[in-house]
Every structure is written in C-alpha cells, then in structure tokens.
Symmetry: C2
Subunit: 231 residues, 2 copies
C-alpha cells in the first residue's frame, strides 16, 4: 500500500533505484573477495596485471600498449598475462568492468534509505571519483578511443552506454514517480543530461583539476531538476 | 543609454556575446582565404596534410601516428610535412585551431541580431557539429589523450579550456544581465554546465549516433536555465 497524498512516497529500500553501471553487463566479473590459496595467488597476479596495464595504457594509449610491456611492468611472464587475458580486448574490457563494479559498490555503500537520499548517493559516487583521477583518465581515454576506426572496445562502450543510460532513466523515473522532479523536467531529459554533464565535467576536471569542481556542478544540476524540499 | 524597465534589453549587435572559441588564442591561424599563386599552392598542401593527419590520428591515435605515414597519405614528401609542421605538436595544435576557428565562423554566420537570438546561434553550432562526426571524434580523442602522461597537447587543452570557459561565462553573464536566466541560475553554473553537457553529450553521440541527440539535449537544457519568454 503506497501512501497517496504524500508527495515523497518512500518505497522499500529494495525497490530504490540503484543506477546500476556494471550490474547486468554480459560476463560481469564474479566476486573475488575472500578467496584463498592458489585462487588467491591467481587473483593477486591478475590485479597486478590490471594495474600495470592501466599505467602502460595511460602512458601510451591502448593501441600502442603491448602485452609484452604490460607483462614487464607487472613483473610476470608474457604467458602469464595471456593466461589471464588471451587478447588485449579481454584485458581492456576487464579494466573497465572492474571500474564499473567498483562504482556500483560505492553507490551501494552510500546506502540510500529512502528515495530522497538517492541524489546524495550519486554525489557520493562523484566524490569518490574525485580521488580516482587515474581510473577516470583511463576511462575517458578508452571511451574516446572506442569511437575511432576498428577499436576493440567499440561494441563494449556501445553496449555499456545503452545499459547505463537505461539504468539512469529508471532511476530518474523513480524520482519522477515520487514527485521529486520539477514541473516540466522529464526523466528522459534529466537522465541523459545528468550522465552527459557528469562525463563532460570529468573531462574538464582532468584538464583543469583546480578550475573544475565536478561534485559542485552535479549538485547544482540536481538542485535545478529536483523540486526543492520546501515546495 | 540602456532601456531600463524592459526585461530583455537589446545591446547593439557588436556588443552581443560571441562565445569565442578560437578568437583570442595565442598564435591563432591567420586568415588564408583568397590567397593566390605560390601562397595558394602552399595553403592547399597544408590543408591536404591536415586532412591526412586527421585520418591517420583517428585510426592510430596521436602517439602512434607518424609524420612519415601522414606524408604518405597526403601524397607529399616528409620534408614538405616538416616544412609546414616542424613537430607533431605543431600539427596537432593546427588541427585543433582550424576546428575552433571554424566553430567561431559558424556561430558568427548564425548572425544573432539581439541577445534573445544567442541561444539559437549556439544550437546552430551544435547542429553543424552533428554533420562533423570525424572532427568531433578527433577533438574528443585528443582532449582525452591530452590528460595522459607527457602529452604534447596538455598545455594547449589547459589553456583552451580556460579560454572557452571564460568566453561562455561572459556570454551567460550577458544573458543574465539581460534578465534571461531563471531565478537561482547563476552564469557560473550555467556556463560550466552548458559546456560540460555539450561535450559529454557529443561523446555519447559518437558512441551511439542513433540513440543520442545532442541538439535536443542542449535545447532542453537551455529551456531549463532560460526564463521562458512568457514569464
């Protein structure tokens, strides 16, 4: 039984929008925490390879980054890299999925208890990104590379954007259904604009760390599209 | 004498904000149109080299793109490329400046006659970009590359962003002074958000040409920040 007459309805926490980013992706990484023994050793090696790959790609771009250089930087044989990631594309996709899975964890950790807390949980994710310039730079670079000729991540980013946009639309639709969007603001516009603003602002922040405040910009945007609590 | 009492004041056209992108840049390219004889031949060669460079960089990224391959693609000797662009950085900067100069021309060609026409001129620029996917992809790629380690364009994009943000702030301040911004919308937020939204939306459009409409998104955003004409 939903409470009619109250503008901010409060769905059960399990029904709150989660803005899933990695969740629902095909072949998303399995949970790796708490593994032991040989499996744990393998997971440590895998993580070292991903860290090395991130460093090499940020320096050289994903097209120039060689599996040999990644192996050297990770301190393992090239065969070990190929055991974990048979192709460079597999490795690039793994890098992006780890990042997306981490974003989902951060959003969940912000624990929105009512739908009114959802905007604050989005800002918590933006605040966390502000401490992760390297991974944001990697993401931005790979997304931009992905739209150039015959790139290994073209399909991945196309599928990812559709999924993330759908998740944001679902989230903003829930806010709209709860009467939280200002008159005239549609969930379609609000979700597309929020995501585009976020990514554009992150690029600008990478270019000018002192001059651009992503969190403040998102906060002001949310203020613009959300009905103010007093209204 | 400005008209007080009228909400939409109408500055003289020469005083209208122009959202300059290339204008004011250090070492912006001189006007090349109408040149003749040897100078014209040189300009044609230069343009052919820039076209070839764009194609090679979109395929390989700017780090891997070699001056030799660019020369081959342009059908000239490598020495000719080096005559026009002694370093790869010079060539990359020239590519970006040509794009920015073209943007300024398109905005000017939209000929805003009163300040109320300025938003429409911005949309005209966005519409023109929609027919220029290759140059938008090049710009997006180089901007993303520029924030990675020791990139030749780091300083260029840092200086460019500061300049473009200042131009947008000046433009939105003029709209604000003319009473065109909604209550509570500051020129600082409006200009930063407009630019970030625009670039983020362009990236999303490059990833999904059919699913993302940059012009519609900007139009809705302008609708959100501008006072509606009836008010």
């Amino acid at each position: 039984m939903t409470e009619h007459g109250s503008r901010h309805t409060t769905p059960e926490p399990s029904k709150l929008p989660s803005f899933p980013i990695a969740a629902g992706a095909k072949g998303a990484p399995a949970e790796r925490r708490g593994a032991r023994g040989p499996y744990k050793r393998s997971a440590v090696t895998r993580a070292a390879i991903l860290d090395a790959a991130m460093a090499v790609i940020i320096e050289q771009g994903s097209r120039s980054a060689s599996m040999r250089e990644i192996a050297r930087r990770a301190g393992v044989d090239q065969s070990t890299v190929l055991h974990h990631f048979p192709q460079k594309a597999t490795l690039l996709i793994a890098l992006m999925r780890e990042r997306d899975a981490r974003s989902d964890e951060i959003f969940a950790a912000a624990r929105p208890a009512t739908i009114a807390d959802v905007p604050e949980a989005l800002l918590a994710l933006a605040r966390s990104n502000a401490g992760q310039a390297d991974i944001i730079a990697l993401y931005t670079l790979l997304a931009a590379e992905s739209v150039t000729a015959d790139h290994a991540l073209e399909e991945f980013f196309h599928e990812r954007l559709a999924r993330v946009r759908a998740g944001f639309l679902e989230g903003l639709t829930a806010l709209s259904d709860a009467g939280m969007l200002r008159d005239g603001v549609t969930p379609e516009f609000a979700s597309s604009a929020l995501l585009a603003l976020w990514e554009g602002a992150q690029l600008h922040w990478l270019i000018d760390r002192d001059g651009v405040d992503v969190v403040a910009l998102l906060e002001d945007f949310l203020h613009l599209i959300l009905r103010s609590p007093q209204t």
